[in-house]
Structures are given as structure tokens and as C-alpha cells.
């Protein structure tokens, strides 16, 4: 449901500014939202470098945006308090890219029924339709799953839904705030006439005989086999979990058919990386001896190494047997290369081997940790269940734990806790500006079709609790005693998160629960560099920070020139800001108006001067002639 008119389009790479007014957590969430656009769509984002038009994200009241590129230079998009959810950011950016809400499509009455008497009085206009002279649905069917759809309760005056879907199955689907839907992506790529993606590289579920162009090595003991079932397990593949008769294939290394140390090598097709960092993700099943291992290599080609240089990236050992396991491997490849999977027979009797399925490769950052929850359905059905994750460490060394609250169904809550850890004495307390991102994985085989549920929180070192302690202080100081399942004692700090992470209905939808397994992906990043105040290097006592006393307005940037703080004002094709603080706005239109009006003013002035001078001359002339004439009675005078 897009705004008609090429003039409203942005370039495929959109210049943006994250203004200082934004909360630091929101800045991190916005950057994560950009990564989702880069994975699923052909849209990219780059810091503004003076382009005529750009999107300036700031914190004003509420969450809102303009629709389309308005060519106003600094185009505002507000991510206010409570708007720092990734799908909210994606929603507002879809507006900026040129999309209206889904239920305002001209054909919406075929798919939903608006119950007008349940709408807050005075809010009925929010359910208006854009007819097809101003909006284009891009030849895509109505999408109940769109991230641009109102929820069933939008603007309700009571408790009854204002929107009733004509297909009842979608009643609780509309209003999803998980991620871009497949159709959102399709529309966006159609609107911008492109299908490429910056960060997606490949997705393989082995359903096609060509096995995604992967090749068997000739320098190994046996080949990997494309099968749909192994007597010793797995009984079925991971993509379809045996739900589709005649499909459901995966690759299997039959380790019992080789001696200890025997291998099977499978190489991917050749890739040409663009970003220099990649995340390899796949599901692995071990039905062998439990000592089999999977080695991941990259084969990098260069002009002086046509065969490619093989580098071991990761050895995956002690693979839990008897179920599909999710693995992530971080790669850092900068040139033409292949990913290589080497199955290696371990010691001990083997009754099966290794199986691989649902490989995804993308130029994104891998999550730091995976919390694998088995037998989720049973846990979910246990009254008053609450789940704590195993302990993890952030890259900075902070120990943490995740708490999944299943005690307040139909809402599922999730919280991030710092806990006592091995590095506490060397760490900074209270814990400063670490952003914890918790993602409930939608286990769709294709990474591009996932709609994972993600929330982020950031540790604010100044946050205090009711008793005056710092919330993010050392858990050994402000935490409470707790015990790991093995009885080890530790201290757990306060939990910070949301009790409405996801609903019971939604967690049972899509592929959040697959094979009775749930995965929560965890990333804890230091985002203190995003903090506007701390991002400026703290001025040492001798040098005064000249810009600290200068506030540039309208997106102006303070710079120090010849030891003097000046504002560099933004400008565009036909507009500019000026003045000491960029407080004044100019535009060619204004200049023309000023030029024309001053020309007219000068002309009028000249005219007045001319008229006055003519009048004076004539009066003077008349006086002149009357003073020279003798006193002659004026009679009939005859000319002689």
C-alpha cells in the first residue's frame, strides 16, 4: 500500500542521522533494525554526509514518521519513549520509505470489517481508505501479516475489536510487531525495483537435488549423502520435521562406514563477500558414537593460490546425540571463497554419523550465545514454570543470565540479570551501557523469511533501585543469593526486561517452537560509543571543549576552526540554514522573493522620485515664466 509517485522515493542507500536526543537503547535498536533491512531487502542505510535529503531520527513525543521522501532536507522520524522496539522502528521506516498502513488499502473491505461503533469517537478518520489514485498495492495480495497492519484493538472505545478479519484465523495475527513479513519485503523490493540484499548470501535446506551447488570433495574417505531418513536417527530432516511426505532431505555423513579418522568433505559454492564478516548457521544431528566431530573451514582463493587456501575456523565436538542442534560459526572472509564442512569419524563404535540441514550464510553478526530450551511444550504446560538460562559471559566479561517468565500466561516475560562472575573484580561497576538483545528465534529454514521476536535493554549505570542502590552495580553487592542446578551458589542482580515479550498464541505460531525446541539468541554489546555525551572525548582540564558552549540548531554540526567553535549548517538543493547557530532558514524561493520585491521597491521608489522631480521642475518652470512677464493688463493683445 504505497504512495504513488517516483518523487517520493529514496535512493537505495538512505542517509540518516541519529540525533543526540535519542535514548541510547533506541540508537542500538535502530541500528539493529537497519541490519534487518539489509538482510531482507535492497535498502541500505549510511550516515548522512551532506546529501540534500536525509532521515533524521530523534526523540520527540511518540513514534511517527512522514510517508515517502518529502524532499525537505532533514526529514524527521521520531522514536520517542517506549518506541525502542525493533518492529516499531521497522514500521516507521516503512512509512518513510513510502508505505501507508495495510488496512487503508482501497480493497481492504474485502478482507477486514471495520466495526465503526467500537472506535473511539473522533478517531474514525484513522480508518479511512486511500483509493487507488493515490496508493498502489503493487499487485500484491492483502497482507494480514504485514508489520503495517493495525491490531484488532486499534483505537477501540471498549474491549471489543475494531477490526474483524474476514478470515478468522488472522484475527490474532493482524498487528504483529515481530518483523517485516514476506509480503512487506516483496512490496518494498517492487517499489524500489530491486531484489538484491546487502547481507544475505545463501540458504540451503537440501530439498533440491542440486544441494545448493555444494560439491563433494575427492580428497576424503566417503561422500556426504542426500537422504530423508537414517535408521539410527534422525528420522526426519529439520526443515519440514517429516511433515511433508516425499520431501524433507538433509546431508548425512555415515561415519560407521569409515575407519576412525575417516572423513567426508562437502564444499559450498563460491561466494564473493562484501562486508568482511559473516555468520554461518546450521542444524547438526549426531547419531554416531558421540565422538564424531564436524570441522568448519573456509577455502579462500587468491591470484597466487588458485586452489584456495584452506583455513580451519572451528572444530565442533561433543555434539549432543539424538536431536537436531543449532550452531553458529563466525567467519571473517574478505575474498572469493567457499565454506567447507568436514565430517570426521571419532573413536568408539558408531551407529550412524553426522547430519546437516538448514544452512544459512549471511554477512551479519552471529549472536554471542544460544539458550537452547528442550521439551519446551512440557515446560510451557507446567503451571507456574519459570526458566533461568545457564550463565553466560558478555565479550566485556560480565556474567549474565536470562529469566523467562511463564507464570503470567498468556503473556511470556523475559528479563536480563547480571550475576556474579569470574571477572567481577576487574570490571567497571555499575555496568555501563551494555545492550542486551534477546531474540526468540523463528526457526524458519530460510533466514530471510524469519520473523523472530526481539527486545533489547541497555544497562544505564545511573539507574537506581528504590533502596538507593545502583541497579547495575556488582551483583555480589546488590544481588540476591541464588543456586545453579548443580548447587553452586552465586549472586543474581535485578532483572530488567518486559513481562509482555510475547503472547502464548504467538509463541505457538510460526516456527518459534520446532521439534519441541526453542532457541533464544543472546547478544550483549558495549554501545557506550553511541552515547552522545560520552561519545565526545571527555575534554582534559587544560583544553576547554569549545563546542560544549555552542548549541547548533536544525541539525547543524559544531566544529572548531582556528580555535573558534563554529556551526556547520546543513543545506540542500534549494534550501540552507544560516546564522551563528544555524537558527535561520534560507531557500532559493525566499531569495527570489526578496530579489523580486526589492526590484519592485526600487522601481516604485525611482518612479516616485521621477514624478516628484517632474512636478518640481514644472512648478519651478511655471514660476519662472510668470516672474519675467511685464505688468501688462491682460487685454486683447494682437500679435503683429
Amino acid at each position: 500500500n504505497s504512495l504513488i509517485g517516483e518523487e517520493y522515493r529514496w535512493p537505495h542507500t538512505i542517509p540518516y542521522v541519529l540525533e543526540d536526543s535519542l535514548e541510547i537503547n533506541a540508537k542500538g535498536v535502530i541500528l539493529n533494525a537497519f541490519e534487518r533491512y539489509r538482510l531482507k531487502t535492497c535498502i541500505d542505510f549510511k550516515p548522512w554526509a551532506g546529501e540534500a535529503n536525509y532521515i533524521s531520527v530523534f526523540k520527540e513525543s511518540g513514534c511517527w514518521s512522514y510517508v515517502g521522501n518529502r524532499h525537505i532536507g532533514r526529514q524527521e522520524l521520531s522514536i520517542g519513549a517506549n518506541c525502542d522496539r525493533i518492529a516499531t522502528v521497522q514500521h516507521e521506516f516503512l512509512h518513510a520509505l513510502g508505505f501507508w498502513h495495510e488496512q487503508s488499502r482501497f480493497d481492504r473491505d474485502d478482507y477486514v470489517r471495520i466495526v465503526w461503533d467500537r472506535i473511539l469517537s473522533g478517531r474514525e478518520h484513522n480508518f479511512n481508505i486511500h483509493d487507488d489514485t493515490e496508493s498502489d498495492s503493487l499487485n500484491v495480495p492483502y497482507d494480514y501479516m504485514s508489520v503495517m497492519h493495525y491490531s484488532k484493538n486499534a483505537f477501540q472505545n471498549g474491549t471489543e475489536p475494531t477490526i474483524v478479519t474476514r478470515v478468522s484465523d488472522f484475527e490474532d495475527v493482524i498487528g504483529q510487531r515481530l518483523d517485516l513479513s514476506d509480503t512487506d519485503v516483496l512490496k518494498l523490493n517492487r517499489l524500489y525495483n530491486c531484489t538484491s540484499s546487502l547481507s544475505f548470501m545463501d540458504s540451503c535446506n537440501f530439498e533440491l537435488e542440486n544441494v545448493c551447488g555444494m560439491i563433494q570433495s575427492s580428497r576424503d574417505s566417503v561422500d556426504w549423502q542426500r537422504v530423508s531418513q537414517i535408521p539410527g536417527g534422525p528420522e526426519n530432516d529439520h526443515s519440514n520435521m517429516g511433515q511433508c511426505q516425499g520431501s524433507g532431505f538433509f546431508m548425512h555423513f555415515d561415519s560407521q562406514s569409515v575407519n576412525v579418522g575417516g572423513t567426508a568433505v562437502l564444499e559450498s559454492r563460491i561466494f564473493y563477500p562484501k562486508r568482511g564478516f559473516q555468520c554461518l548457521e546450521f542444524y547438526l544431528y549426531d547419531s554416531g558414537s558421540g565422538t564424531d566431530q564436524l570441522n568448519i573451514y573456509v577455502r579462500e582463493y587468491s591470484v597466487n593460490d588458485l586452489d584456495g587456501k584452506l583455513t580451519l575456523v572451528k572444530e565442533i565436538k561433543e555434539i549432543p546425540t539424538g536431536s537436531w542442534q543449532l550452531y553458529y560459526v563466525t567467519l571473517q572472509v574478505t575474498s572469493k571463497s567457499r565454506v567447507v564442512f568436514e565430517g570426521l569419524r571419532g573413536a568408539g563404535a558408531s551407529s550412524g554419523g553426522l547430519s546437516i540441514d538448514d544452512i544459512n550464510l549471511s554477512e551479519t553478526q552471529c549472536p554471542h550465545h544460544i539458550w537452547h530450551i528442550r521439551n519446551f511444550t512440557q515446560i510451557f504446560d507446567t503451571p507456574n514454570a519459570s526458566l533461568y538460562s545457564p550463565p553466560f559471559y558478555s565479550p566485556k566479561g560480565y556474567a549474565f543470565q536470562i529469566y523467562l517468565n511463564l507464570q503470567s500466561l498468556p503473556n511470556v516475560g523475559i528479563y536480563f540479570h547480571l550475576i556474579s562472575g569470574a571477572n567481577d573484580d576487574q570490571l567497571q561497576w555499575p555496568c555501563p551501557w551494555q545492550q542486551a538483545t534477546m531474540t526468540l528465534l523463528d526457526q524458519n529454514p530460510d533466514i530471510r523469511q524469519r520473523m523472530s521476536n526481539q527486545r533489547s535493554i541497555t544497562t544505564d549505570p545511573f539507574m537506581t533501585t528504590d533502596n538507593g542502590n545502583y541497579f547495575w552495580d556488582n551483583p555480589s553487592k546488590v544481588g540476591k543469593l541464588a543456586f545453579f542446578p548443580n548447587g553452586t551458589q552465586f549472586s543474581r542482580g535485578g532483572g530488567y526486561g518486559t513481562s509482555v515479550f510475547i503472547t502464548e498464541k504467538r509463541i505457538k505460531s510460526r516456527d518459534f517452537i520446532k521439534g519441541n525446541d526453542v532457541y533464544i539468541l543472546l547478544t550483549v554489546e558495549d554501545i557506550s560509543h553511541l552515547n552522545s555525551t560520552s561519545s565526545q572525548p571527555a575534554p582534559t582540564s587544560s583544553v576547554r571543549d569549545l563546542c560544549s558552549s555552542v548549541t547548533c540548531e536544525n541539525g547543524g554540526i559544531c566544529t572548531v576552526q582556528d580555535d573558534k567553535a563554529e556551526c556547520r549548517c546543513p543545506s540542500g538543493e534549494d534550501w540552507w540554514y544560516m546564522g551563528e547557530r544555524c537558527e535561520k532558514r534560507g531557500s532559493t524561493q525566499d531569495t527570489i522573493v526578496i530579489a523580486v520585491s526589492s526590484t519592485v521597491a526600487v522601481f516604485v521608489l525611482m518612479l516616485i522620485v521621477t514624478l516628484v522631480s517632474v512636478y518640481c521642475v514644472r512648478r519651478k518652470y511655471r514660476k519662472g515664466t510668470s516672474s519675467k512677464t511685464p505688468n501688462v493688463a491682460i487685454e486683447n493683445q494682437y500679435a503683429f
Binding site: 512522514y66 517506549n82 487503508s104 535493554i457 541497579f471 540476591k480 518486559t498
Partner: protein, 41 residues
Amino acid sequence: TPENFVKDIDAGIDQDIFDINEDLGLELFQGDIRLDRVQGR
């Protein structure tokens, strides 16, 4: 439960975009769209 002593970022209310804007009394087109002068006309 007390031993969890958890703090909610959104006060435990699952507010959609439009609820947030409504509570703030924002008069936005379709709940979260800002119109420029051309569109406003």
C-alpha cells in the same frame, strides 16, 4: 516472584505504536503519520 526482583521496561503493558501516541495526545494522521503542508492540504 520476589526473588526475581525484576523491573519492566514498559511497565508490563504491551502498548502498540498507536496506543503510545494516543496516550500522549498526539493528533497524527492514522495514528503515527506526520503530513507535510502539501499532504495536509
